[in-house]
Amino acid sequence: MKYVFAQNRRQFLLGVGGASLALPILPSLLRVPKAEAQALAAQKYFAYMELPHGAVVQTEAFPADSMATEMKSYAGFTVRRGALPSTPTNGEVQLSGMLRAPSTLLTPGLLAKMNVIRGVDITHYPGHGSGQSLGNFGDVTGGVAADGGPGPSSPTIDQVMAWAPSFYGNTTVAERVIVVGDISWANSNPAAHTGAIQRVSQSAPTNVALFDKLFGSQTQTGSGSAPPPPNTLLVDKVVANYQRLISSGKLSSVDQKRIDDHLQRVFELQKKLSQPTQSFGMIPPRPGMTTVDSSSDGYDVDPAAQVANINLWTDIAAAAFSVGASRIFTANLTETFSDYVGDWHDLAHSSEADRTAQYVKANQTFFSGVFAEFARKLDAISMGDGTTLLDASLISWAHESGSNSHYGTGLPLITFGSARGALKTGQYLDFRNLNKQLPKTATREASWHGLAWHQWLGTALQAVGVPKTEYTGLSGGSAYPDFRPADLNDLLAGDMDARYPGTETPYTDAVYAAAGEVLPWMG
């Protein structure tokens, strides 16, 4: 994915002299009047970032098994946990080869807000999918259902949150979800949960445009000043125009649905125009624009430039969170975060030995340079009550697939934030069923089956305050999404030498029965 970014905006957001985004500017944004503080106390924030391909080298992705010292029986097998250590080595905290960062970044305080989760699996064959790790199994190449057909189409959980009554309620925000890349799906009428499941496009083509979309109309009037009174005459007439067509009685039912869907979105616009967008802090002034095209020479193999580019997006997401312009951020990134000059795609699908060095380095670069940095930004923003924006958030990072490309096992799931105490943090959680191991082969790492990815999706929804009643009804069952592939014969075709008894049905009734619960030790 190509982005365009503004260098001087970066400089602005980082503050004069290269200081961090949060320290010089953002704390001053939060001058929350008492009345607003009360309302704010219930608000939570969610972010998710996905890297493509998976192919995560297992031996370098997770902490040592010895770190998981506590065990219990869950869903028919033994799961494990332990506390994350915080002792730096040579100025660096090393949880694993991939999860390494300077101790100045990954401080004990930040580590205490982190979880490293292992053994939560995508239980179908994970082909390419633009939203499967957020819950839409209907757009996965290679098919998901037992007959090779598509899985069920479902809204991704970011959109479930965005339209759940308990998340935004009557609050008006500039953007319900800040979407970057190809990852978010919703009903054609998301408010009513009706109509086809369709892709939600990226919020803005560039981060400059995103900034303007989120803050533009307010910054034009000066920092902190009230926006001009909205003229609702036009939007009211637009509503009337579409209602006029509907009431004409000339439309077929499918055409009427189309116009209904459109009208719902005009209502959303009308709401934004007629009710002030939530804002409880000082909006950053609009910086000047000097755009730099990230398709410039060498960007594809320049991890430093890629990190800087993506950090511009998370800067804006942090700013949006801090002033309430949006409370959800999801991103599917196509940057490699690597200087590998060969074909990254081929590398991603190669054997462990081929890709170890490049992949570990790339993931470590993303973790330290982008993801942990995003957590740090949020943690530097005070909520005025002794907590930080990170404390009110659940931010997460995962891959499109796991130990090898198109393997649903071995996905590292890394989170920061407790969503205001809804989740326990500071843990290494290992949910693998050690009795269900697919042994190492010449072309594949050892991997284990564990709990279902559905359970993580439900955990995230519940953590940010969306009750089951607001999402399970969307797909019928107690888990989200309500889908259970028949078996994994397709997945394992050709791996006859690497099976354990019962491999065909690795995810038992007990695993799916638990899929509606919050993940063990997290609640």
Binding site: G138, S201, D255, D354
Partner: protein, 622 residues
Amino acid sequence: MRIPKFFRIVTALPLLAACTANVGNPRNTGSSSGPNGTAATGTGGSSSIATGGGANVATPGSGGGGNSAPILPTQATLPPAELPPALAAAVELPMRRLSAAQYQEVLKEIVRRALPTDGGAVANAVPDLVKASLYPEDILANLDGGRHGGLLRTDQALQQAHVDGSYTAAQKLGVELTNSQARLTDLVGSCATDADASNDDTCLTSFVQRFGQLALRRSLDAGDVDFYKSIAGTTPVAPGSIANVVALLLTAPDLMYSIELGSGMVAPGRITLTAHELAARLALHFWNSIPNAELQALADSGDILKPDVYKAQVAKMALDPRAESTAREFFAQWFRMKEVPELNSRLTDPVFKAIVGDFLPTSQTRQDALDEIDGLVSYTYKNNGTLSGLANDNHAYSRSPELASLYGVPAWDGVSAPGIIPNRNLLTRVSFTASGLANTRPIQKGVRIVNGLLCQILPPPPPAAMAVVIEVSPNSTTREVVDGLTSPASCAGCHHTLINPFGFVTENFDPIGRERTTQQLYDAMGNPTVAKPVATDATIQIAGETHMVSGAPEALKYILESGQMEGCFAQQYFRFAFGRKEVEFDRYIIEQLNYFARTNANLGDVMQQVALRPEFQLRMAQ
């Protein structure tokens, strides 16, 4: 060995045997009959899936068509001229949203005609205005479920940004059109700026009727006029009032969608379009725009519904430069030009740098390669060229001296006859051969031909397959490396029979598209090791027949003899025209497009055929 997921371009799980058979869409389990039977009856999928799902009722966002079997004609047969039999179930999309390209062109044309004096300047500013309003681009939607290829017009999803962006753009245009006394006069008439208030209401009525006809692509009735006037309030011709009227018209459902209510049921399941609806459909299809004055008049009079008038008008529209522009849009998408890689991203790689030598690709090089294909299509269209002629064409269309130097010719001036570039055809142009890496990419090149140009749906690899890195070898050619890596039985079924051969035939072109007879190999530091001859011979498989070829020219010869490329064109152009996947009812249209392409009609004539079919002139009743 796992085959890269790049090749997971279908959504079914057939066996590898599919690679040795006539490859179709193996997922489809629906029954379908011929044109004289009933409609295809897809059995799988959900009615709400956004990429190819659904039964027979199409959904917005999907491009429609559900999971019906793709229609890919293999024989050049002219179908019956009349309509196919009635369908058992409706298949038409709900009203189509204008594509992003159509939306932009429609606004430009409205402005141009509404503001006779200054409209050109404002129209030129429309693209930036629309972009600044964050009206979203469309997404390439592959209706067969793959993640590559696809057409922008088949993205029928409605985003919040469509509503927000169009609202913002409409407001801005309203202000732009009324921001001076001169423009207000130009737009509304002198009655808007004279001192006489008594004529203001008449003035506004006249304006609403004129501007409304452009924006809504139909005549306004009294109710419409009253409604659009109502936003003007008590100062009917004040700039702010007119700006609001403009904005309200530019956000109207009639502008954003193709609203086709029809003039009555012509047969069970079918309604005929009204004259204005038909004119609007023609203009949107051929020009991405609104009817011009002539077409508008034919719609107003109803003459467009007369067969002879209609046919003549279609022919005339196909000759318009805007039709050529739309044709370029289609070919760029069908040829998957978006997948052409950046050629300047590996300049830090010593091997790549050694390969490119004195030619240093820049961020412009890729665009130059895209522009070259644009030039090829444009020249072919304007000069009555054919599809096969376009594929075989070996002229230099690059206007960039840098790109032209890769062909060893001077840049084309765009006016005089383009020069010859030996040993080139469509398959061997830079945009089809360059990888921007130290290696060429025979597998990706092959897939682009097989799946992109020939519409053969490749089965996915066996799930347990695993790829290995195609290393830059100091002593083996790329072909040797790829051949070896794809030799295991689990890979060879598709790779050796279908995919690799089409990539190997262009191995006499290096990673930036220059012709070569040897592949100079390098060590990791970019020091030359050995030069080995490149081999371009291969056994290719097309439509179940195998051919031994010496290289790209012969491969293309057999491609064109097979008719597979024309069939693919017909299928893809149908989808472009209708914004959805085909169903059995559409077979005649696709067969007619295929027939004219196969019988070497010129591109303009071929593309007219879609509108000359009776199916184009009606809509399925819902």
